[in-house]
């Protein structure tokens, strides 16, 4: 018997497609239009072709911001992912302790970005901040407005504090969904804790980790409010990340053409990195299943 393929259910996503068109696709087209022109007002605009792209790609300040951005994103991923998995493994599995720990872990996620920035700004101040005064008392001249290394360490610490819970929560839910039979089989085989982690828990966590890594990468690559409030991009420009450079250009200086070109480059970088992440992780999984089947 021939199976009838009916794909008409796809029409159900039409309303969503319309919404996305209005909220994302059409505005993105406008950005593309701006990136090839110098627009002064509604009637005065000049076609500049690829000039803005050339200027933006060769701007040393932006190149430095891009490198800083990558350094930041990969640093926080390298810290948050293992730390999040570790926390999820340690979290209690049942009873009131599980609920209590879940709530405590989730708290940082509920705080808005700029509030997190303000909290850490106060926390790290040398005169009244607990952390700032504490480190000074220990004999280190900690100052995030003067010392770039201090500013970097603080921003990374702040991001780890704010977002590790997300990875931990994702992993926790992933761990909860592993059937008990796997652990029972492991116990019969007298598998070590490490073997259980390596061959049962970690493979089962792949899916949530893909989501976690993608979310954290995109989030951190677009980070704006937290470092802006905490350090304002300083000292000098040592913590000026991409979105802050972009905002300075687009809002501060009203250079719509260059900032449109820059936005597109920014967008292409995020698109490429996310695609590479996604494909790499999805393919490694596919290889595993075929090996397991054979």
């Amino acid at each position: 018997m021939n199976k009838v393929y009916n794909n008409r259910a796809w029409f159900l996503i039409l309303p969503m497609l319309m919404l996305v068109a209005f909220s994302a696709i059409i505005p993105l087209m406008t950005v593309v239009n701006y990136s090839v022109q110098d627009v002064f007002d509604a009637n005065t605009r000049f076609f500049t072709g690829t000039e803005w792209f050339e200027v933006m790609l060769n701007d040393p300040a932006l190149q430095a911001a891009l490198l800083r951005q990558f350094a930041f994103s990969f640093t926080i991923l390298a810290i948050e992912v293992p730390l999040g998995i570790g926390i999820a493994l340690l979290m209690p599995k049942r009873g009131w302790q599980a609920s209590a720990v879940l709530i405590l872990i989730t708290l940082p996620l509920l705080i808005p970005w700029n509030v997190v920035g303000s909290i850490w700004q106060l926390f790290t101040r040398g005169d009244i901040g607990l952390m700032g005064v504490g480190i000074r008392e220990l004999g280190y001249a900690y100052n995030i407005t003067r010392n770039p290394a201090d500013a970097w360490a603080t921003i990374i610490l702040m991001d780890v504090w704010h977002w590790t819970p997300l990875i931990a929560l994702l992993c926790y839910s992933g761990l909860r969904s592993i059937p008990d039979a796997y652990y029972q089989a492991a116990r019969i085989d007298r598998a070590s804790k490490w073997a259980v982690f390596r061959y049962i828990q970690l493979p089962k966590l792949t899916n949530v980790l893909v989501i976690g890594v993608l979310l954290r990468f995109m989030h951190s690559f677009m980070i704006y409010a937290e470092p802006f409030v905490l350090t304002g991009g300083g000292p000098g420009s040592s913590t000026t990340f991409l979105s802050q450079s972009l905002t300075t250009m687009a809002i501060g200086q009203q250079d719509l053409g260059p900032s449109a070109a820059f936005s597109l480059i920014y967008f292409l970088i995020i698109l490429l990195v996310c695609w590479v992440f996604y494909t790499a992780i999805m393919n490694s999984q596919k290889d595993n299943t075929t090996q397991g089947g054979a």
Binding site: N33, Y34, V36, V39, F47, N58, I265, L268, L272, N283
Partner: protein
């Protein structure tokens, strides 16, 4: 549509993209794509290869515009060639 400050090149660009998407949809309806392995290290469908082709075309253009004095038309030509090679043998 004046608020979107259209120019002829960007209008052509988006029309071509829309036409490609429509064409791909029709092609898919006429003969559904089969995932296969070409010279790329991963198995891809037709749509995957189009995406890879368009994304690399964007990067080819950025490199040519940003870091060389080569005309952008060469970048376009190279991208189209690369897209065709990718679609056929990728």
């Amino acid at each position: 549509m004046e608020w979107m400050v259209w120019t002829l090149p960007t209008a052509i660009f988006f029309s071509v993209i829309a036409a490609i998407l429509l064409g791909m949809t029709t092609w898919e309806l006429v003969s559904p794509s089969v995932e296969r392995r070409g010279f790329l290290p991963i198995a891809t469908t037709r749509g995957d290869r189009l995406f890879i082709g368009l994304l690399s075309a964007a990067y080819i253009h950025l490199v040519v515009v940003g870091f060389t004095d080569i005309s952008i038309w060469f970048a376009l030509g190279a991208s189209v060639l690369w897209l065709l090679v990718l679609m056929r043998w990728g």
